[in-house]
């Protein structure tokens, strides 16, 4: 069991021109945890994800990861998004970004890209190692889809799936990259209560069975309170609170940020 947090973000700041979108944010995720990042709209949560995953290099601060089982931490600042995924951080997007004109299965197969080795020559000649690798990828993708519950639509085009299924497919695709930390950006957005419950179960299953830690951005408070081990709260780019669900629920700054005013005032 890793004592060092698998993700440690220190003093992260991000400037866009004159606008400071993130201001000295600290956050950490220990192995096996489900951590939530919450805050009002525009607080900088997705920007935070983008900084961690290499879409923008942060203006200040450090993003350190320590993959489970490894001793040394690696600095992730400015590393390209595809390298970040290779290192073991996978993400989903706030607005669904599936590969619409590919089948469900192929979407998940793409996730395996960075774990595969065949190149052009292998593709054309179809040597034994390539064939074996392809077969493994197909099998593994199917297994992932079974776990997610999408096994019966493997050959559908991703664009034809209903909304809830699309969200789950994004998660399946991210899982295919074999991450140790999964970053979910508003996975429950647009879901009805029943779907949200299923999502709750799914995320727990991912943590228990796949041994993947989770960092999620979410607005659905019921889901957040139910799932999270710890919660970080940001507002206007600054961290205003952190702690267990109970601690955060009763924190005055958090209430003020969401409701705009002290209830007792």
């Amino acid at each position: 069991m890793n004592m060092e947090p698998i993700l440690k973000v220190q003093n992260l700041s991000m400037d866009f021109g004159g606008l400071r979108a993130l201001d000295g944010v600290d956050l950490d995720v220990a192995q096996g945890e489900i951590v939530a990042l919450i805050g009002p709209n525009g607080a900088g949560k997705t920007t935070f994800f983008n900084c961690i995953t290499g879409i923008f290099p942060p203006t200040e601060g450090d993003v350190l990861i320590t993959p489970p089982g490894k001793k040394k931490s690696k600095r992730l600042n400015g590393v390209k998004p595809n390298k970040v995924t290779e290192k073991g951080l996978a993400r989903t997007f706030q607005n669904i970004r599936l590969f619409a004109n590919m089948t469900v299965l192929e979407n998940v197969m793409i996730g395996h890209h960075c774990r595969m080795h065949s190149g052009i020559l292998g593709a054309v000649l179809k040597g034994t190692s390539t064939v074996r690798e392809e077969a493994w990828v197909v099998e593994n993708s199917y297994l992932i889809l079974e776990k997610i519950g999408l096994a019966d639509v493997v050959n559908e085009f991703a664009k034809n799936l209903p909304y809830g299924a699309q969200r789950r497919l994004e998660i399946a695709r991210a899982m295919a990259t074999d991450p140790f930390l999964l970053l979910l950006d508003e996975p429950a957005a647009g879901m009805n209560p029943h779907e949200t419950e299923e999502l709750d179960e799914l995320i727990r299953k991912i943590r228990e069975q796949e041994k993947i830690s989770i960092l999620l951005i979410e607005h659905d408070m019921k889901l957040v309170m139910s799932l999270s081990d710890r919660i970080f709260v940001v507002d206007y780019g600054r961290k205003i609170a952190q702690g267990t669900p109970d601690e955060v629920k009763n924190n005055r700054s958090v209430i003020k940020a969401y409701l705009g005013e002290d209830i007792d005032a």
Partner: protein, 300 residues
């Protein structure tokens, strides 16, 4: 020194013509993010229409400068009509289609219009009379700049001023600016987006037509293919200046005009066209938004 001045003014004239055409490209791109490949053909049709009107009027025995003005007006009317129609047929149905489809449709329209004029008229080069009289006061400097050049420069300036006025101070201008920034939002605030788009095409076609008539007078020859070449150059100019930006189109046009003029004057006239493209490629690689363009950020 005189040579330099001649090249400078030559470049200015070139740039003016490119600007008149480039405006159409940039305005359309700004509004519907489409490279209107058929725009050069609108310019060509303007020139042809003018020639036809001039020929008819000449045969009826009218006097000179009035013919040019009438022909110009009619050319503008017709080019605008063509621009409007092309948009309705080939672009409107593809408003929500992927960009590649609209681009191919534009290419198809360009091809169609070129051959339409070719078949309906002729493949020969037709002489275009220069009806602009040589002004007496120009004589002393006629070896540096001719009367036609002067008319081109003055007309272009007037058009620029008119266009700026339209965009900045009229209601439709404001609607055009709004639509080019955010089409959906403009629609939600009550702007008739279809009408705005049509107006954009009409205005762009009109300026191109003016350019067509002027350059036809200047060069003295037209044929069905002139739209393609002028179109590409003007397009390069629009991109250079930042496609979607009206001042950018003007700036890019003059930069291109001067580059071509000085390069052919001092270096070599063989590689005239190459300069345009090399310039284009370099600018786009180092500053894709163009000189005055807005760099786009993507939402993640």
């Amino acid at each position: 020194m005189d040579y330099f001045l001649e090249l400078f003014l030559g470049g200015l004239t070139r740039g003016s013509i490119y600007a008149l055409i480039a405006l159409g490209y940039t305005m359309v791109y700004g509004i519907i993010e489409l490279i209107n490949f058929a725009h050069g053909e609108i310019y060509m049709i303007g020139a042809f229409t003018a020639l036809i009107v001039i020929s008819v009027l000449t045969l009826m025995g009218m006097n000179t400068i009035a013919i040019l003005v009438i022909a110009g007006v009619i050319a503008v009317i017709y080019s605008s009509a063509y621009g409007y129609t092309v948009e309705k047929i080939a672009y409107k149905p593809l408003r929500n289609a992927p960009r590649l489809s609209a681009l191919i449709s534009a290419i198809g329209m360009s091809l169609f219009l070129q051959n339409y004029v070719l078949l309906a008229q002729t493949s020969d080069f037709l002489p275009f009379p220069n009806l602009i009289p040589d002004f007496e006061f120009m004589e002393p400097i006629a070896y540096i700049i001719g009367s036609t050049d002067l008319v081109i420069l003055i007309t272009t300036t007037i058009v620029m001023i008119g266009l700026t006025f339209l965009i900045k101070f009229t209601r439709i201008g404001k609607a055009m600016r709004a639509t080019s920034q955010d089409k959906t939002m403009a629609m939600l605030t009550g702007v008739d987006v279809n009408r705005v788009i049509s107006v954009t095409f009409i205005v762009g076609s009109a300026t191109a037509a003016i350019g067509g008539v002027l350059i036809a007078s200047h060069i003295g020859m037209i044929n069905f293919y002139i739209g393609f070449i002028a179109g590409i150059k003007a397009f390069v100019a629009a991109v250079l200046g930042g496609i979607g930006s009206i001042p950018g189109a003007v700036l890019g046009s003059f930069v291109l005009g001067w580059t071509e003029s000085f390069a052919t004057g001092y270096v070599s006239s063989d590689y005239e066209d190459v300069f345009a493209f090399i310039f284009l490629v370099c600018i786009l690689i180092f500053r894709p938004a163009g000189i005055l363009g807005r760099s786009e950020r993507h939402e993640v």
